[in-house]
């Protein structure tokens, strides 16, 4: 019995070691889209580099970079990213790829946004119909993009009634809420296509240039502390902007639909 216990204990506490590793904070939409499962094994194979992902909202991702707890940040909120670099938290900003935001809502479409003229028109119709709308409400890139659309339509979120529901959660959790309430929601296309609990929801509107969603990589400033692996972040950046990454990113499809478009400039 004792020997069995010792064996179990040794198995439990056995440690593994391996290749070089770095930490990168990424947005929930990047991970929920499933692209990470394609890119990380390729990075491991090509560079012998383990990229440890911390999957959080853009707000928290930048906060982790600011504290120097990660080596790089991959997010999608241009204004916040430029502020991050300007404040000296990141060395520079490198655009990698883009996808787009889409309007998802109940199939019955009570606000009739399916033939909206623009994203601003779509949110005006939702506001006019007072149809339930779920907002991320977590200061993430998607949340900021959604706020920009409301502002561009000349509407003030603060004055909305209880049909506007900020849930303060990640993309997947917010989609679950929208699915449960049969509400409208703004999602990035990748997370929506990869989402497993669609219920009665459908993709209703997309295509406005205002819904463009750029992802960028920000290596964290190595002056913050001695543990930051800027060399690995630079290696990762070179890989993410290489033709090999371009082929993997452009080739990633769900149900025959491409999710991301590679647009890094060499």
């Amino acid at each position: 019995m004792k020997r069995l216990l010792t064996t179990v204990a040794m198995l439990l506490w056995a440690q593994t070691s391996g290749a070089e590793e770095m930490r990168m904070a990424v947005t929930t939409s990047f991970d929920n889209s499933g692209l990470a499962d394609v890119l990380l094994p390729a990075i491991k194979a090509d560079l012998d580099l383990d990229v440890r992902l911390l999957v959080v909202g853009t707000g928290q991702a930048l906060r982790l970079g600011e504290a120097g707890d990660v080596d790089a940040v991959l997010v999608h909120s241009k204004a916040a990213e430029e502020k991050f670099v300007a404040a000296g938290h990141g060395t520079h900003r490198r655009e990698i790829m883009y996808n787009d935001f889409v309007f998802v809502g109940p199939k019955a479409d009570p606000a009739a946004i399916v033939d909206a003229a623009s994203a601003a028109d779509a949110v005006q119709r939702i506001e006019a119909a007072q149809a339930p709308f779920v907002s991320r409400g977590d200061d993430s890139g998607t949340h900021k993009a959604e706020q920009k659309i409301w502002a561009s339509a000349g509407l003030d979120i603060a004055g909305f009634g209880d049909w506007y529901r900020p849930v303060g959660a990640g993309m997947g959790a917010a989609l679950n809420t929208a699915s449960g309430m049969n509400a409208y929601i703004v999602s990035d296309r990748a997370s929506w296509l990869n989402f497993g609990n669609k219920g009665d929801l459908a993709l209703l509107y997309s295509g406005d240039p205002a819904l463009f969603n750029q992802y960028a990589l920000l290596p964290v400033n190595p002056d913050k502390n001695d543990s930051i692996r800027n060399d690995l972040a630079v290696k990762l950046e070179a890989w993410l902007t290489s033709p090999r990454a371009a082929a993997l990113i452009n080739g990633y499809k769900i149900n025959g639909e491409a999710l991301f478009v590679f647009n890094a400039t060499p």
Binding site: M1, L5, L11, L12, W13, R23, T28, N32, D50, R52, L53, L54, V55, E66, A67, G68, D69, G170, M171, G172, A173, L175, N176, S179, N194, F195, G196, N197, K198, K224, N225, S227, I228
Partner: protein, 234 residues
């Protein structure tokens, strides 16, 4: 209802196919929680017993504090441990953030008050029984504490298992300090949160049933090894 049934079948297939990832995160869950449990018990059990035996000025205050800390919100514990362990924080040089060690620290903070409080309650009753005997034998304070801990070991086991239960199902704190990194700090509870976020309820529920099963197995194993509930045994 369909989802719950799907969850059962997902759990069954995960276990039946010896899914490598499931093994990995289950073992990591056990490793983190059992380590935290051992550390917390070493602190909390003598502390709970000491509080039962010793009379001192602020005793009532200390006991109330420990009882109150049983309700510590895990997210707040996680945030505090995060700020302390962050590379920008006071213990940043140790480089412990986003490691299993950070998760163990957070769990120790969460379950130590639980174990200490329950241990104190049961030791207090035992002390009422043993008080006259141990005083008349002219025992030292340390001898009294050891005697109580030895004779009250069944109750202390319950206290420890309550702590285990709280730790194995905890998600808020370890999500913040561990970061739910694949192959490093992903455990059963954070994996469940992740799969729920992806809308894959069947897999999330499957992992949930595995977690419940794990808790049952550990409890049974501890009871069997310590030979409780047997005829002729106290």
């Amino acid at each position: 209802m369909v989802d719950i049934w799907d969850g059962f079948s997902a759990a069954f297939w995960l276990i039946a196919s010896f899914d490598a990832e499931l093994w990995e995160i289950s073992l990591r869950s056990l490793r983190v929680t059992l380590t935290a449990l051992v550390i917390a018990s070493v602190i909390a059990i003598p502390l709970g017993t000491y509080l039962a035996v010793q009379r001192f000025r602020y005793r009532r205050f200390v006991i109330s504090m420990i009882n109150a800390l049983m309700g510590l919100p895990p997210v707040v514990v996680g945030l505090i441990v995060y700020i302390l362990l962050s590379r920008a924080g006071p213990f940043g040089v140790l480089n412990l953030l986003f490691t299993p060690t950070a998760m163990i620290i957070a769990q120790v903070v969460i379950i130590t008050p639980v174990i200490a409080s329950i241990a104190h309650q049961s030791m207090r009753e035992l002390w009422a029984e043993y008080h006259d005997l141990l005083i008349s034998l002219n025992t030292s304070k340390w001898q009294r504490i050891v005697t109580l801990m030895r004779d009250g070991r069944r109750n202390l086991l319950t206290a420890a298992l309550a702590g285990f239960g709280r730790a194995i199902g905890e998600v808020g704190a370890i999500m913040i300090v561990g970061g739910n990194i694949d192959h490093v700090t992903r455990v059963l509870t954070t994996a469940i949160a992740l799969e729920t976020g992806k809308g894959d309820f069947a897999l999330a529920l499957g992992l949930g049933f595995v977690l419940i099963g794990l808790a049952i197995v550990v409890n049974l194993a501890i009871h069997t090894l310590s030979r409780t509930e047997r005829e002729g045994q106290w």
